[in-house]
Assembly symmetry: C2
DNA sequence: TTTCAAAGTTGTAATCATTACATCTTTGTT
DNA sequence: AACAAAGATGTAATGATTACAACTTTGAAA
């Protein structure tokens, strides 16, 4: 497993330090679209010397090199996704959880340019209430 | 003009105080997808007693009552849009300006539900570089 | 093997958008 | 005129993110 992640980073031109491998490994194995805090809290357990600044720095490197996506769907916290294939996201306004939304025809809205704009990224976000939160509130 | 905005708010069940009319008027006349700071700075000139907290409160009321859209396209600042018709947005990673993107077939990705999710809002965001910033950098 | 520089990590302090909250003002009603 | 509810204001707190300086690791050259 660690070997795979190491290779994964190297293939993207990222020096695979222990911390970077740990963060990338987290993103590739947990599909919660985690915040910096979630990643930090969980990795701290096994890496007590890990610094939150390092998690910030690492995520920046991963995003800049195309190894992770940065999601701005949540007003409160930036979220990260290790799945870099184009896909839509949903956030529940009740519990705050972020899910992937499969089966969206992203090609219909995907663009690389528009009236002279050079487009490097397309995001489709849905907001609403998940099944559990529908029961609780409305 | 102020009369129109007053009516606009009342039609949406919003008590049209002077401050609310001013903020709504700004959103309906400037298409910069302004931040709280932009709105506050500009309105302060003619309303010196305006408080930034009031701008926050007002925008919350407008969004809750469907008179404005809240955009999370910009990691730095929340942005607001007085155009509540569904349309896509673009942010320039160089200068930070947000533009509307016309001609996107939003119906292709618009959903009201998906696997039990109750979807209340759909956002399509593009990121990249505008014409001016393409010249300057890349 | 030592030396050294570059890259990476760490912890603390600063920044800055947003929210909480208590007080004051406005508005409309009895 | 008195009062209550809604709205506005200013200040203080919160909390995510960034800046920065010091420390550590890594790997190559001598």
């Amino acid at each position: 497993m660690p070997v795979r992640v190491k290779t994964y980073l190297q293939e993207r031109g990222i020096n695979p330090s222990m911390q970077r491998v740990a963060v990338m490994h987290y993103l590739l194995n947990y599909f919660t679209h985690p915040t910096v805090d979630e990643i930090y809290s969980n990795l701290s357990k096994s890496m007590p010397t890990l610094s939150k600044t390092t998690v910030y720095n690492t995520l920046k490197v991963l995003v800049e090199n195309g190894a992770a996506l940065q999601l701005t769907i949540d007003e409160k916290n930036t979220r990260y996704d290790g799945n870099t294939h184009p896909h839509a996201h949903f956030i529940c306004l009740g519990c705050g959880k972020v899910h992937d939304v499969e089966g969206v025809n992203l090609a219909a809205v995907d663009k690389t340019d528009h009236n002279g704009l050079q487009i490097t990224e397309t995001q489709v976000y849905y907001k609403g209430y998940c099944e559990e939160c529908q029961k609780i509130n409305h």
